[in-house]
């Protein structure tokens, strides 16, 4: 994330993401030429910032035909900024950039694309591939967002005060969570997961906790994504087919990451401000910490979903709550909860859960109909094959059921 740090400082100085990115790219080229000869500098980040600053200054001078007061101000800023920058300045710069990319005046798709482009340094092509759109479409989306930021001077004024940061934090956390979930469970395409994107989600969540160590929900989000990510190696079998959470080989999970996630969650809970990410992290940690599928503490998980439901009506939470209640109190109790989940007709997972509960309740015909409804929602190819296999197995094995490792 060295690039993100440098771009953050350059953005503060110029207010222009394109200039900031270009200056960093130029500095990286210089580093590529010089470091093998001169050796890696003691503080690579400070070195890159200094060189990038000079490059940005050159750029502004070339544009001197529009020598506004504003440009003179940025030049003065670049000439007088101390070198290396003090920690709190770097921190403020990074926060400013994160909150700019996730500004509520931008549509969510643009926020996510900008976060991947500007904060993670992914290329437009990589982002386009992740969201299965064309380079052109993604390039336009990013260019439009950058233009809107520049025209409205978003992020140019003072750094938001702590109270304002807290108010805007849920939006930022949602973007980071979306980056992670898009990688964890691909909405469409041939693959179930895109580990590279999920990795970026974890890195962004870690950056947020570094910058805001006292925000309980930042810690909660990091605990959540770490705990879910720790199970990534068992999501698919050797043949590339989806594996249900209850069938996973738990010895393959990253137990160091699970321990770290649990420790992060404890740290978050000690701050005494419980929020939805902490509750989701607690649920995920209970799954990750259970030695076997049968040892899963479904009663506590069902209670936690009840708490999560209380943070605001959300059909995705309600469906997952139905799964937990179905495990804790039996399939009929689960079906009762599921009946209250509105607006889930287009979501294959909701139909899959209904099929599981119906099958366990001995209603095989209705279960088969629910699986067909799930298939009609056209999930990704891996999900589709899993559903087809279960539909085929339903008549022979009426109690074939399991929990899909799928958390929204």
């Amino acid at each position: 994330m060295e690039g993100g740090r440098v771009v953050a400082t350059l953005f503060r100085m110029t207010g222009d993401l394109d200039v900031a990115e270009d200056a960093f790219a130029d500095a990286a080229i210089v580093a590529f030429e010089r470091w093998p000869v001169d050796g890696i500098p003691e503080r690579p980040g400070a070195w890159l910032t200094t060189v990038a600053r000079r490059k940005a200054l050159d750029h502004l001078r070339r544009e001197a035909r529009r020598q506004t007061l504003e440009q003179q101000a940025s030049e003065a800023l670049m000439a007088t900024d101390p070198d290396p920058l003090p920690y709190h300045t770097v921190r403020d710069d990074q926060l400013r950039l994160i909150f700019t990319c996730c500004h509520p005046a931008l549509v969510r798709d643009a926020q996510v694309a900008l976060a991947l482009r500007v904060l993670c340094g992914l290329t437009t092509t990589e982002i386009a591939r992740a969201f299965l759109t064309s380079d052109t479409t993604m390039g336009q989306r990013i260019a439009r967002a950058k233009h809107k930021i520049k025209a409205n001077r978003i992020g140019i004024g003072r750094v938001p005060r702590d109270a304002e940061l807290s108010a805007r934090l849920p939006g930022v956390l949602a973007v980071v969570h979306l980056v992670f979930t898009t990688g964890h469970h691909a909405p469409v395409g041939s693959e179930l997961q895109r580990v590279d994107l999920a990795d970026e989600g974890v890195r962004l969540a870690r950056l947020l906790t570094d910058l805001m160590p006292d925000e309980a929900e930042c810690l909660g989000l990091l605990a959540l994504v770490e705990s879910v990510h720790a199970r990534r190696s068992t999501r698919l079998d050797a043949g590339g087919e989806a594996v249900l959470l209850r069938d996973a080989d738990r010895s393959q999970w990253d137990h160091d990451a699970i321990a770290e996630a649990s420790a992060l969650l404890e740290r978050a809970l000690r701050l005494g401000r419980v929020g939805p990410y902490q509750v989701q992290a607690a649920i995920s940690c209970l799954h990750s910490l259970a030695a076997t599928a049968d040892a899963t503490d479904w009663v506590q998980i069902a209670e936690l979903y009840g708490v999560l439901d209380g943070f605001g009506a959300n059909p995705f939470v309600r469906v997952n709550r139905a799964v937990a209640v179905g495990e804790a109190d039996g399939p009929d109790a689960g079906l009762e909860v599921l009946a209250t989940a509105e607006g889930t007709d287009g979501w294959h997972f909701a139909h899959t859960v209904r099929a599981d509960l119906l099958a366990r309740s001995g209603r095989a015909d209705e279960a088969a109909a629910a699986l067909r409804a799930a298939l009609a929602c056209a999930p990704n190819d891996v999900d589709r094959r899993l559903l087809e296999a279960r539909l085929a197995g339903l008549t022979g094995v009426p109690d074939a059921q399991g929990v899909h490792d799928h958390r929204r």
Partner: protein, 117 residues
């Protein structure tokens, strides 16, 4: 300082003889006091029933076509505007949220940065 234009969309506006009129105007007077010198310019507009939309078809000297009414017929109509001085979009939003149309009667306020020419 950068300029932001706030376009005020209303759904309902009382007549001067209506009992709610003083309250309606009071909201804008209060905003004027709150925003103070940040307000560079602005004007209230008469209603959309007074609007005329002008278009010249077939190039500069083509046929003048007048439409009786606003450019877009929607439930909300452009009721006025302010030109505000603000450091950045967040500062402009912090002011604009206090414009009565933003919080009253389903109205809305659109913010656009002014083009510095």
């Amino acid at each position: 300082m950068p300029l932001f234009v706030t376009l005020i969309y209303e759904t309902a506006r009382p007549e001067p003889t209506d009992p709610g009129f003083a309250d309606f105007m009071g909201g804008y007077a209060a905003f004027g006091e709150l925003a103070g010198p940040a307000i560079v310019d602005g004007a209230p507009l008469l209603g959309p029933d007074t609007a005329t939309t002008v278009q010249v078809r077939g190039g500069k000297d083509g046929d003048l076509v007048l439409t009786d009414g606003p450019f877009a017929e929607t439930k909300e109509w452009l009721g006025g505007f302010y030109v505000l001085q603000a450091d950045d979009l967040d500062a402009a939003i912090a002011l604009a949220r206090h414009i009565p149309a933003a919080w009253r009667d389903g109205g809305k306020v659109e913010i656009r940065p002014a083009w510095e020419m």
